[in-house]
Symmetry: C2
Subunit: 145 residues, 2 copies
DNA sequence: ATTAAAACTGAAAATCAATTTCAATTAGGA
DNA sequence: TCCTAATTGAAATTGATTTTCAGTTTTAAT
């Protein structure tokens, strides 16, 4: 946590932006979340603690955090984006059941190796990536849709 | 093309839906598109040939085609989804430059192998998947953002 | 071939995530 | 401290997608 905030201020300054309380609060709150979250989740958390951070600020800050590599947009469900903290360098794959909407995470270092390879081959600057697998989970597979 | 349509009717019927002209036309048109498309692209194609298929029908049909494995939602850009025909079993990875918005395709059989492995391990029924890699392309990497 | 019920369609209205506007506030260098 | 540009919250706007609904079409059963 401390290390993340220590890194965040220079990141913001280097971009010529201002280090505001709102930006810091948003990052702090996000780091304290285990698992996935969306804009509504974040907004409600602030509301509960009587912090009046607006959705506009959240929407404005999330892309910054993605760009800085602090969070990733991991999948899109019910018409909006879901994020998670980039804790490890291990990539997350998300298997999404189109019937029961369950989201399962799969982690596999081999994918990470592939992505790194693509990055070097094509001389990209990788910011983030996500792999979504859609289908029917074990439980829903037998049902007729 | 013929084979796809031959397969589509039973697919629709098995779901207890009706095989309508609109659904057939939409699938036919999509199969004739090389590369990516979005709802607007499709709509304009119908408009040009004086077919009065509505956007509502397109929006209603695309999820069916995804479910049937005929098309895939491959990435999301400018706030809306982009699709492509599932021609081969070779997965498409999309590298999206967040600066110039260029989309490059990478194909790699090794990823396909990984996905199949996950499917068998967890007893999923795979419908579709997509891997999006966000970052800066070779050309934009040097620019200060 | 008729018929009837249910599904489907186009057009318009509604929804809803995300972005933009704008006046007031705040950060941070001089 | 002062000044200016960046940022904020709230509200308005945008734009993709979904829903509504009255009229139309499909399809199974007569």
């Amino acid at each position: 946590m401390e290390e993340i905030l220590r890194d965040f201020k220079p990141f913001i300054k280097k971009k010529g932006l201002k280090y505001t309380q709102e930006r810091e609060q948003i990052l702090k709150e996000i780091v304290s979340i285990k698992g996935h979250f969306d804009v509504e989740d974040l907004y409600l958390r602030f509301k509960e603690k009587n912090s009046k951070i607006s959705k506009a600020s959240i929407y404005r800050t999330l892309p910054l955090l993605v760009e800085g590599g602090y969070i990733q947009e991991v999948y899109r469900q019910d018409g909006h984006s879901h994020y998670e903290v980039t804790l490890t360098k291990t990539p997350h794959l998300h298997f999404i059941c189109i019937h029961c909407r369950e989201v399962q995470e799969i982690t596999d270092e081999r994918l990470n190796v592939l992505i790194k390879e693509y990055e070097e081959e094509r001389e990209y600057k990788l910011l983030t990536y996500h792999l979504e697998i859609f289908g029917l989970c074990k439980a829903c597979k037998g049902l007729k849709l």
